[in-house]
Structures are given as structure tokens and as C-alpha cells.
Amino acid sequence: MNTIFLIIKREYLVRVRKRSFVIMTILGPLLIFAFYAVIGWAAISSINQKKVAVIDESGRFANQFKDTKETTYSYLKQPLAQAKKQFAKSGYDALVFIPTNVIEQPKTVQIFAEKSVSLDLQNNIERAISKEIETIKLNQAGITRKIIEDAKVNVDAQTFSLRDSGEQNSSAIATSIIGYVCAFLIYISVFIYGTQVMRGVMEEKTNRIVEVIISSVKPFQLMMGKIIGVALVGLTQFMLWILLTVGLFTVGGQVFGDKVDRGRAAMQTSAAAGQGAAAAPEVRQAQQGVMNNVLRAIETLNIPLIVACFLFYFLGGYLLYSALFGAIGAAVDNETETQQFMFPITLPIIGAIAVAQFVIREPDGALAFWTSMIPFTSPVIMMVRVPFGVPGWELALSMFLLAIGFAGTTWLAARIYRVGILMYGKKVTYKELSKWVFYKA
């Protein structure tokens, strides 16, 4: 027992101390953060970037254009021809010309710009103009804007799932995303850490240290020590990623949050003169509405259950596959020979991630049920299903079968391993492997 602990310790420390581990652990969250930071920065730096000049010959649109994050508007009182001439020096990004007869002929509105005008800007201007024309026309017909607003009913359907705990708010999209992300993480980590086990076994075999070691410990202890050591490396990496990402986003979020607020405040004061601050809170409310929906949906999910299941299926799936990866490493002499054995072993889990897309659409179907029972696919498929809610007995049965599954593959792998590690210069076939399984120790 003491020796297996020593092996775990070595396997763990050797990998955690590697430069590549440190780099990957720091780089992962940094890349995610940098990705969001670039988007955030782009959003902030676009504030006040577009300056639009408006020549309103009709005189009906004074202060109808509301300043937003992206655009500010100013009104020019000069003829179009003159404005066009001075445009290059004026520092404006675009020039909007509204002719006197705009109400009768709305298509006469013109937008000039040095570069092409962005679709967003064009839409904003068109919307503002058409809304104002609409109001004018409605007024002419004797209807006020107020009546229209009252007549508009905003329908935002909320989805509910009927469960024993009563009606709960749920959001199908959030549930699917969480399920799929968990499943994909398990899929990726089985590959990453499974191959690490295989490489480790091959390294010991080609270094010829393996015979020295197994004169001190049982081959099974050496194999399990490596598998557990690598599992701990995987868990460490996950934990660090989560901690670093959360940390970066908390710190980064504050910095960016300040900037955004300051930007908004500046915008509002500048817009205050133009009485148009009304739009921003509206938009913000709408965004908060969506966010609240998702957050509410997440709150109704059984997060502790999902986390517990994730850990169980991550470890179960990893143990099941890494034992087989270890056996491959023991059976072959070099990397190129691994290919022929890798394919049949990785086939079920690649299949599982493909099937997962159908399971998301129908998480309670027959396909979903059976693939979440088979130990080779259950770690991926069950993780897709868990956020949708799975009957307790199905979960228990699936976990039980997975436990039997990894006990089985570990047993099989150990028997191949103990023969393989001492076998040099022999090209192995499946027939040969099956013989090894039945050798007496």
C-alpha cells in the first residue's frame, strides 16, 4: 500500500513539475480571458467612435436621433453641397441628408460616408426616421403614440418542466449547453489523460526501467499508480483552470465594469442635453431579462447533482479507458505501433460524442437510455442527460455498470500489461494479446 502511494506521488510530481503542464495550466484561462477581453475592449473602444452629421431640411427630426454607445449625432445647418465639400475635414464618419419632402417620399434620405456605411448605423438611422414618419402620419390620422404603445403586448413565453417538486422554470437551451459541455470535457479529458498513461507506460518499457521497478512492486501496482497519478494531475489541472478563470474574470470584470460604467455615464451626460437617455435603460432591461431567464434556469438545475455526476463519470470514464490505453502502451514497442490498437478502443467514445447530438434532442429516448447504460459510452451520454433530469434508478444502474466496466477493463489491461512490459522486439497481434490474458502470473 505504501509503495503504490510512492508510485502515485512520483507520477504526479513528475507531470505537475513539467514546464508544459505549468504553461498549459496558465495559458488555458489566459487564452479564454484574452478572447473575452478583446471582445470587451472592442466594445468599449467603439464608444463615441462614430460621429454622424445630420442635415435636416425637413426640420422634423431635431433631436430624434439618440446618441448610443456606438454613435453620436450632431445637426448641421448648412446646405448639403457645402457639407459634402467640407466632409473630409469635418471629422464626421457619416453624413445624413433628410430632404424636405421626406414624409411623402421616404426613399429620398441619403447617407454619405468616406468608407462604406456599416449596416448597424444604416439600420439605426432608417429606424429612427421611419419611426418619426410613422408618428407624424399617425398624428395626422388622429392616433397618438401612446395608444400604439398600449396596444403592443410583449409576449415572452417561459418554459416550465413538470416535476415532483412542482412547476419549475427551465430553459431548454441552458440545460442542453451545460450537458453538452460536461460531456465534451469528459470526452476530451479521456483522450488527453488516457494518452498520457499510454506514453508513460511506453516510456518505462523503452527506457528498460520497468524490470527494475517490478522487481520491487507488482506490475498491477505500477499500472494503477500511474493511472491514479495521472487522474490526480487531471483533477489538479481542472481545479486550477476553474480557479484561474474565475479569478481572472472577477478581477478583469471589475476593471472592465468600471470602464463601461464610466463610458455610459459620459454618454448619458452628453445625451442629457438631447433628452434621449431613455433608450439605454430599456435595452439594459431587455438584456437583463434574458440573463435572468438563463440564471433562473440554471438555479432550477440540480447543480450539486451535476457536479457529483461529472466527477463520477469523469473518473469512471477515465479509469475505464486509461486502463486500456495502459495495456496498449505495454503491448507495443513504439508509437507507430499504437495506431492499430488505438482505433478500436477509441471508437466507442468517438461514437458517443457523435450520438450525444441526437440525445440532446431526445434525452429520454431509447437511444439515450441504452447508450447511457453501456459503460463505454455512458460517461459521455449520461452527462448530456443528467441536466435534463434522469430517473434515480437509471442513474444508479448506469453508475453500477460503469463501475463493473472499469473493474473489467482494469482486470483485462493488467493481464496484458504484466506480460507486455517484459516483451521486447515482438510485433503483437490480437491473437497474441488474447493469449497473454490467460497466462498464469
Binding site: T3, L6, I7, R10, V14, E203, E204, N207, R208, I209, E211, V212, I213, I214, S215, S216, V217, P219, L422, Y424, K435, Y439, K440, A441
Partner: protein, 303 residues
């Protein structure tokens, strides 16, 4: 007293029987040569003693007890296929291997210090194995084998990869370990080192033990009752019991003859007859070399 005893060991691999009824006795404090051609079954036997594999039939006793996992720390094994973790540091690696043998970290540290001083390799502690030359790696490997002061040391081709200077160093270490009370099993093809170091041998060929016992007794068993004499003069009309196998001239008019005597005859009779007839410069028994014995014994069982 015997440190190791194997009784009727059989090891079967699919269609191949690697060991067939092999019984050996290794006396405590000896340097025991385990000889045999490639593929004879030596490595299989060594792996059984190290509990890497188990025999299909037969029993192994170490220090009078049935072989069991507690014996692991009493054995030091240097396999023929050997190596170290390339990316690990020398000190760290040796500490790890010592702890796997059951030493505490503190004990291991103390023992390692002694070896690092002895081999004058103190500066290597923080070096990575991959930065050492092959000979240096072999030294580290030897330390790894013996640092836990095992009662039984099993060395499979220990000198391969060593230059003559380091080979000598290791040879002296082997003798010193023996003098301190360790027993050494020594598996090799190099008959000159068997000749030099071993006091007991066993020969395995084609999964069977062909020969074993004290080296002197085996030489006795294989002796041909031939003697050589260097002389001047004419060696004629010797009694018919003494047959002259060959005569050839050597330097300065001296001749050399190989003479065989009957197993029951006394050497003194031959000497007396020689003195009567020729001027003798030297006389001695033709003792078979381990090389001769090896070839003869293996050849005999292959026929």
C-alpha cells in the same frame, strides 16, 4: 547454510517450456555463476526469484522461508535490460527506487550519501540521467541495485556497457559486498569473469539444469587427466599406460608434449619416468577452462 534454494521449478509459456525441473542450491556468501547460452532459461529463473513471475510448479526458498513479498527488500536485482527514468534527477531517482525497496526516506538518504562519496559522484545528485554518459548511468544503476544492502544480489550481465576501468571498479565492489556477507548470483556469457569471480556455478541449457556445484569440483569432474611438460631431449619408450597426445617444438630447442595418464595412475609415476628420460623445464596439469567446460557441457546436451 544456503541462502537460496529452488526445487523442481517448471515454467511454461504457451508452447514453450522455459524451465523444466530446475533445482538449485546457492550457498550463503558465495559468488554463484548462473551460466547458459541465450534462451536457455536463465532470465526466466531470475524473474521467478525476483517474484516478477511465479513458477507453474516447484518451490523457491530464500533464507529458509518460502519466497514471499517481504523478501523483496532482501534482494537487489540488476536486469540485463536495464534503464532509468531519463528525465529524473540522479538523487531523486535513487531515493525513489530505495523507497520502493522499503527503505524510509531518511535511511535511503544516509545509505546514498555513503555510495556517493565512495564512487566520487557527489556532483551528480542534481543532474538529469539523460545528461550522464552511458558508463555514468551504469554506475548509478549499480548503486540503485545494492544501496539497500540486500542479502542476495542478482546481476545479469553486469559488465556490459562498462569500460575496463569501471568494470574493475564494479568487480572490486562485488568482491567487497561478498566479503561483507552478501551472496551474489552472477549471470553472464563472459567466461573469463566467471573464472575470476565465481566459486559456485550452475549451467542451464534448453530449460534444464545441466551442471552445478563448486567450481573446483566441476573442474575436477571435467578434467581430462592430461599434463603438459616442456623439456629438452627425446621422449621415447614411455610405458604404454602414458599416451603422448601431441608433441610440438617451442623455443630454444625445447619441446612441449601433452600426456594423458589413466584415471587411477599416480602423477608421480609420470614425473619419475620423465625425469629419467629428459631434461624437464616445466610440468603441469591441463586444467579445463570454464570456456572448455561450457562448450563441452552445452555440446553434450545438444546432441
Amino acid at each position: 547454510m544456503n541462502i537460496l534454494e529452488t526445487r523442481h521449478i517448471v515454467k511454461q509459456y504457451a508452447e514453450h517450456r522455459a524451465l523444466d525441473d530446475v533445482s538449485l542450491v546457492v550457498p550463503k556468501g558465495s559468488i554463484f555463476g548462473l551460466l547458459g547460452p541465450n534462451g536457455a532459461g536463465k532470465t526466466s529463473l531470475i524473474r521467478i526469484i525476483n517474484q516478477i513471475t511465479a513458477p507453474d510448479e516447484g518451490e523457491v526458498f530464500l533464507m529458509g522461508e518460502h519466497l514471499n513479498p517481504n523478501h523483496i527488500r532482501h534482494i537487489g536485482y540488476l536486469p540485463e535490460e536495464r534503464g532509468l527514468y531519463k528525465k529524473m534527477k540522479v538523487g531523486e531517482q535513487l531515493l525513489y527506487l530505495a523507497q520502493l525497496k522499503g527503505l524510509s526516506e531518511k535511511e535511503a538518504m544516509e545509505k546514498l550519501k555513503i555510495w556517493f562519496v565512495k564512487f566520487d559522484i557527489k556532483t551528480w545528485w542534481n543532474k538529469h540521467i539523460e545528461d550522464l554518459s552511458k558508463g555514468m548511468q551504469q554506475k548509478v544503476q549499480f548503486v540503485a541495485t545494492v544501496m539497500h544492502e540486500p542479502d542476495l544480489i542478482i546481476l545479469d550481465e553486469p559488465f556490459s556497457g562498462f569500460d575496463p576501468i569501471n568494470a574493475n571498479l564494479i568487480k572490486d565492489e562485488i568482491l567487497e559486498l561478498r566479503d561483507k556477507g552478501s551472496t551474489i548470483i552472477f549471470s553472464t556469457h563472459r567466461m573469463e569473469s566467471v573464472e575470476e569471480l565465481c566459486d559456485h556455478i550452475a549451467l542451464i541449457n534448453r530449460s534444464h539444469k545441466v551442471l552445478d556445484g563448486p567450481k573446483r569440483a566441476i573442474k575436477e569432474q571435467f578434467k581430462t587427466h592430461t599434463y603438459h611438460v616442456e623439456y629438452q631431449g627425446a621422449l621415447s619408450d614411455l610405458p604404454s599406460a602414458f599416451s603422448v597426445l601431441s608433441t610440438k617444438p617451442i623455443d630454444d630447442g625445447f619441446l612441449r608434449a601433452d600426456i594423458q595418464i589413466p584415471p587411477d595412475a599416480a602423477v608421480n609415476d609420470l614425473i619419475r619416468h620423465l625425469i629419467d628420460r629428459v631434461a624437464v623445464r616445466s610440468f603441469g596439469e591441463n586444467i579445463p577452462s570454464m570456456n572448455d567446460i561450457f562448450i563441452k557441457a552445452v555440446g553434450a546436451t545438444n546432441d
